[in-house]
Amino acid sequence: MNLNIFIQHFINALSLGSLYGLVAVGYTMVYGILRLINFAHGDIFMLGAYFVYFATIVYKLPWAVGVVTAIILTTICGLLVDRIAYKPLREAPRISALISAIGVSFFIENFAVVVFTGMPRPVVQPPILMKPIELSGGVRLIPLGILVPVVSFVLVGALLWLLYRTKPGLAMRAISFDIEATRMMGVSVNKIIALAFGLGSALAAVAGIMWALRYPRVEPFMGMTPGIKAFIAAVFGGIGSVPGAMIGGLILGFVEIMSVAFFPTLSGYKDAFAFLLLIMILLFRPTGLLGEKLEDKI
C-alpha cells in the first residue's frame, strides 16, 4: 500500500469516525441523564439528511440557508420526540421508555417511507466540496473529506465548552450524577433534559447532512445501521462521556476502514466489527474507555 492510498484511507476513516462520534454524542448525553437508549436517535439523523435534501434540492434554497433550516427542523423533531414519547414515562420503569423509543424509531422510519417514499434519492454534491486538491507527493484530497472531521471536531469542541464553561452545561453534568440533588439547587430538570435532546438532535442533523453528502443519497432507513453503530461507539468510549463518545466513534471508524483496507476479503464482514468490538469491551471493561463505574446498592 503506497502512501497516497494510505492517506486516502486515513482521511476516510477520520471522516467516518467523526460522523459516528457526532451521533454517539447525542446517545451518550441522553443516556447519561435518563439511562435511556434513545433508539430514535439514528432516525433523527436521517431526518436531518432529508430536510437538507428537500431544502436545497427540491426547494432550491442556498446551501447555507438549507443547512440551517434542516438543523432547526431536526432539533424541533428531537424535542417533540422527548415531549411526546419519553416525558410521560419519566416515572415509569426504564423498560417502558425503552420500548417507547423502539416504537418512535419504527414510527419515524415508516413515516419517512410514507412521506418521502422508500426510494433512495440522489443528493447533488456542491462541486466546490468535490474538487480534488493536489498536494505534494501526488496526494490528492477531496475538500469534503477534510470538512467532515473539521466540522465534527469544532462542534464537539463547542459542546465541551458548553458543558464545562456554562451554567446549563454545569446543570447537565450534575443531572447525570444525581437528578434529585440537582433539583434541590433550583435547576429545572425538564428544561435541561430538553436541552440535551435538542443539542443531541442538532449534532445528529449535522452528521446526517454530512453523511448525505458523503454517500450522496438519502433513504428512510439510512439512520438504522449508523445509529446502532454510533450507540456502540458511545458504549465503547464510556457511556455518559462526551469525549469518550467521540473517541469511540473514531476508533470504530478506523477499525472499519482500515481492516477492509488491509484485508479486502473481510469486506463482507465490515458491519460485524462494531458488534465484535462492543462485545469485547463489555466483557473486559464494561464501563467503556472513559466511563465511570456505577455501583449497585444492596
Binding site: 444525581d178 434541590m184 439547587m185
Partner: protein, 243 residues
C-alpha cells in the same frame, strides 16, 4: 416574632409505610429549630416533604418570605421553585456531585442567581467559613474526606443566599472535633440572620444550639420545647436508648 414556615398535620406515606404522622411545626424568623429523634423516626421525611422532594399531605404548609412578606403555599411545589423562594437544603448523605469540582459544586448551588459579583462574594464567604474548601477548590468532590464533603454540602446550600437553610444530619459520620466545628458554624450562619431548620441524630449538640426543638418518635412529634428544656428531659434519653 414573625413566623416563617408553618406546617400543620403533615403526613408522608411510602407505599404501605406511614413515615410521618400528623407532624406540625412552626419556625420563626431568625431561629434555629431542631428536629431530633432516633434513626427511622421520620426526621428526613419531614424535611424532604418541606423541600418538595416527596409527595406529602398536610392541612397547611406555608412559607413567608422575609424578602417581601408574602405568604405562599409550598405544598406540592417542585423543589426547584423552593430555591427561588429562599429555601435551601443540605441533604442527608451530603449528595455533593462527586465528579464536579468544589468550585463547580458551589456554582451549582448558585444556579438560580445571575449576579456574578454577588456570587463571587458568596464563594469567598463560604471559603471563609470553610478554609479547607478553598485549599481544594479545583479538586473533584469524590476526592474530599467525609468532613470536607459535609462542609461542601452546607456551603453549596448557602450559595443560593437562602433565608431558610435546612440541614439534614450535618454531623453524620464526622469525627467529634469536626462535629464541634460544624455546630459552631451553624451558630455563626444563624447569627448572620439566616433561619435554620436542623435535623440531627446528635441530639445533645443540636439541643445546645437550638432555640426550639421537636422530638420525633416513630413518625409523630412526641415532645417539643426549647433546647434547654429538652436537654434535661429524661424522656429524650429514653427516646434514644429505649428506656
Amino acid at each position: 416574632m414573625e413566623s416563617m414556615l408553618k406546617v400543620e398535620k403533615l403526613n408522608v406515606n411510602y407505599g404501605a409505610i406511614h413515615a410521618v404522622r400528623d407532624v406540625s411545626l412552626s419556625i420563626n424568623k431568625g431561629e434555629i429549630v431542631t428536629l431530633i429523634g432516633a434513626n427511622g423516626a421520620g426526621k428526613s421525611s419531614v424535611i424532604r416533604a418541606i423541600m418538595g422532594l416527596v409527595k406529602a399531605k398536610a392541612d397547611e404548609m406555608t412559607y413567608t418570605s422575609p424578602r417581601d412578606n408574602n405568604t405562599v403555599n409550598i405544598l406540592g411545589r417542585p423543589a426547584e421553585e423552593h430555591v427561588k423562594l429562599g429555601i435551601a437544603l443540605s441533604p442527608e448523605g451530603r449528595r455533593i456531585l462527586p465528579q464536579l469540582t468544589v468550585e463547580e459544586n458551589l456554582a451549582l448551588g448558585a444556579y438560580t442567581r445571575n449576579d456574578a459579583q454577588g456570587i463571587a462574594e458568596d464563594v469567598e464567604y463560604v471559603y471563609s467559613l470553610f478554609p479547607r474548601l478553598k485549599e481544594r477548590h479545583r479538586q473533584k468532590g469524590s476526592t474530599l474526606s467525609g468532613g470536607e464533603q459535609q462542609m461542601l454540602a452546607v456551603g453549596r446550600a448557602l450559595m443560593s443566599r437562602p433565608d431558610l437553610l435546612m440541614l439534614d444530619e450535618p454531623s453524620l459520620g464526622l469525627a467529634p472535633i469536626l462535629v464541634d466545628e460544624v455546630f459552631g458554624i451553624i451558630r455563626e450562619i444563624n447569627s448572620q440572620g439566616r433561619t435554620i431548620l436542623l435535623v440531627e441524630q446528635n441530639a445533645f449538640a443540636a439541643l445546645k444550639v437550638a432555640h426550639k426543638a421537636y422530638v420525633l418518635e416513630v413518625g409523630a412529634v412526641g415532645l417539643s420545647g426549647t433546647g434547654a428544656e429538652l436537654l434535661n428531659n429524661p424522656k429524650v434519653r429514653a427516646a434514644y436508648l429505649g428506656g
